[in-house]
């Protein structure tokens, strides 16, 4: 068995559950148009191919590059270089991040363009740059992650008092949107590259995680600060219509191709530019090593393109149709259960999740196994989706109540779980909200909102991303607690 086949099988097993659940739903509660189902099946096959290629590409390209860059800047032994690199990398990775671009456009339209999308994009990217810098400082000077996170979340709570609740929710959504599919592996590898230079292996292991967490917090804080300067915060919700049913099977793939291609190029370009820059100025790798990483970039790009195309053209409308149909027919309990189940299976096929779990296994040499992380993560996301759907039927439950209580629990747990799980958990929060969640699950929630009269479509569906970013933090820390209790040496 070679690497290609193994990766392919691994991805196949993680995409099959979501395909089965949708098919089962189709044959039990709803009967969707034949063309939609065929398109969904076609898209599932494309997701498997795209995701396999993407992950292989990340393995031999982006991750290798991130490790090398991390090592190289640490070896310079100059704090100024590390800080400048952190600031610039954070900025250029996020300013081109497709998820963030879409998010800022949406936010601008919801807020009636009081905050222009380009201002929001620049501010959020700058925030991410500054926080990536802080994350690097933390690794080098051994600042414990939980103390930093505690300070940052206190700042967020303080800012939250002066902001209106809708903006707070938007800000938390931003944290999910910033950590895109390519940014995650690159940032993880950078952090690993820097921290593995440490002599103390326990610390180096711990410090490999937590960088994504700090970066996500950066996005929240910068959006909230921006909100303070815009006193007139009357958020006017946009109206979202149910899409017209497209019965042509292949047509949506062609329609979406241009914009998806643009997104994929934008996502990979900054990291590729960093690669060329480092290769010609600093690394001067041998031709063989250069070509290999280059191939990795090509695989990642092609894989990402196929994956995003499949998800946008084949998964989005089916998610929305399922949600709309179930809610419209008043199957409230089933809507929640389906939401929970979709949350559980969707996260398995999320690209960045594969990268994170792989990294966790590598860093801990299999001590924290991929499957245990996936169980906790899936449960977390399932609960999040279930909660967001439940909330649509009970508008009295405000999203920020849940966020407040949730983050208080998450912050409290930080003090008792093994420290490596703090980093992993908060990283997973940022990682869980990838392109599949942001399209398929979001579409499902929007569909449910469309089918429920009492709900305000855009505002209500916004909070879903923040919840998906929150619950894994809690469930993974609980996993850490279980490890702590179970892993005690017996018989001594």
């Amino acid at each position: 068995m070679n690497a290609l086949k193994r990766k392919f099988l691994e991805v196949l097993y993680s995409v099959l559950p979501i395909t089965f659940i949708v098919l089962i739903l189709n044959f039990t509660y709803l009967s969707l148009d034949f063309s939609v189902i065929i398109r969904f099946l076609l898209a599932s096959v494309m997701v498997v191919i795209g995701l396999s290629l993407f992950l292989i590409g990340v393995d031999i390209g982006v991750s290798v590059l991130g490790n090398k860059v991390g090592e190289t800047i640490t070896k310079t032994n100059k704090i100024s270089i590390i800080l400048i690199v952190g600031l610039i990398f954070g900025f250029i990775i996020s300013i081109a991040e497709p998820g963030l671009v879409i998010f800022t456009n949406q936010t601008a339209s919801v807020t009636d363009n009081q905050i222009s999308s380009s201002t929001l994009l620049i501010v959020a990217s700058l925030g991410i740059g500054i926080f990536l810098m802080i994350a690097f400082i933390r690794i080098i000077y051994n600042i414990p992650l939980y103390i930093l996170l505690f300070i940052f979340y206190s700042i967020i709570f303080m800012l939250g008092i002066f902001s209106n609740p809708e903006l707070l929710v938007i800000a938390f959504d931003a944290s999910g949107a910033t950590t895109g599919v390519l940014a995650v592996p690159f940032i993880l590898a950078l952090a690993f590259g820097i921290s593995r230079m440490k002599k103390d292996s326990k610390a180096s292991e711990k410090d490999s995680f937590g960088t994504i967490a700090i970066v996500s917090v950066g996005a929240v804080i910068s959006v909230l600060i921006l909100g303070l300067f815009n006193k007139n915060q009357n958020l006017t919700p946009a109206i979202s219509e149910l899409p017209i049913l497209e019965t042509r099977i292949f047509y949506p793939f062609f329609v979406q191709f241009n914009s998806i291609a643009k997104q994929s190029i934008l996502a990979i370009l900054p990291i590729f530019a960093i690669y060329l820059l480092f290769q010609f100025l600093i690394f001067k790798l041998s031709k063989r090593a250069f070509v290999k990483i280059f191939k990795g970039f090509i695989y990642s790009f092609v894989g990402l393109l196929i994956f995003l195309l499949a998800v946008n053209a084949g998964f989005m409308d089916i998610g929305r149709l399922i949600g709309y149909f179930l809610a419209h027919n008043d199957y409230q309990v089933i809507v929640v259960i389906v939401g929970f189940t979709l949350g559980i299976v969707t996260i398995l096929a999320e690209p960045a999740v594969h990268v994170l779990t792989h990294q966790i296994e590598n860093v801990t040499t299999g001590y924290i196994s991929k499957s245990s992380v996936l169980v906790a993560l899936s449960l977390g996301v399932g609960i999040a989706v279930g909660l967001s759907v439940m909330r649509l039927f009970n508008p009295a439950i405000k999203i920020w109540y849940i966020l407040l209580i949730g983050y208080l629990i998450a912050l409290g747990l930080m003090f008792i779980v093994p420290k490596i799980f703090v980093g992993i958990a908060f990283d997973a929060g940022g990682v869980a909200t990838g392109p599949l969640t942001a399209t398929f699950i979001l579409a499902y929630v929007i569909g449910v909102a469309n089918g429920t009269e009492s709900s305000n479509v855009i505002l209500d569906s916004f909070g879903m991303i923040s919840l998906v970013a929150l619950t894994p933090i809690i469930t993974l820390q609980l996993l850490g607690l279980v490890f702590k209790i179970k892993a005690k040496k017996g018989g001594l």
Binding site: E205, T365, S372, F483
Partner: protein
Amino acid sequence: MNDSLNKNNLTLIFVIVYSKMASKILKYSKKCGISGGTIFYGTGTIPNNKILGLLGFDEVNKEIVLMLGEKEVAYHTLEMLNVKFKLYKPNHGIAFALPVSQILGSNLFSEERRENKVEKPKYNLVFTIVDRGNAERVIDAAVLAGSKGGTIINARGSGIHETSKLFNMEISPEKEVVLIVCDSLKTDQITKKIYEELEIEKPGNGIIFVQDVDKAYGLYNNTEL
């Protein structure tokens, strides 16, 4: 093998397999009488496949399992592994055994030395397996005792004291393997120093074992073979 080895001789088993297999190997070996093992990651190559090489897929992830056992048990385990995991087929992994000359820190095997050795080897390879985070202390101790340094490998492992389960998955604690190649004259003082510093005599604190090395290059104060 050398005929002069006594019957209780200890043997180190190496098994190199594709990733995800190591836990199964270790579990099965325990059934065969092995008391514990240590697992670490490696990368292997796929030779003679031009297409895969061209595509850039010429590397695979491997896992390496280290297990100690008495010679009889070890050979039995190797045979069983060979059958169970079909190692005789191509691309199913490899397993081999090497003699161990000295062991410290395991209460299963009494401390013993290989005697009657006709010719003492010039070098020794000292393996020290400790909990994650302690490898630096091992190297510090070894350097104090005259070693030139060491190599640390991140690993996970399980011995008889450390097995717990989580949703039917075994949790194997994180370990570090330290490899030190040294002049055989210094072996005793190095192992003794590590033994004292790391309190190896207490169960669960680690294990040290020594192998003979016939040839060594690159040890900079010994230019000749």
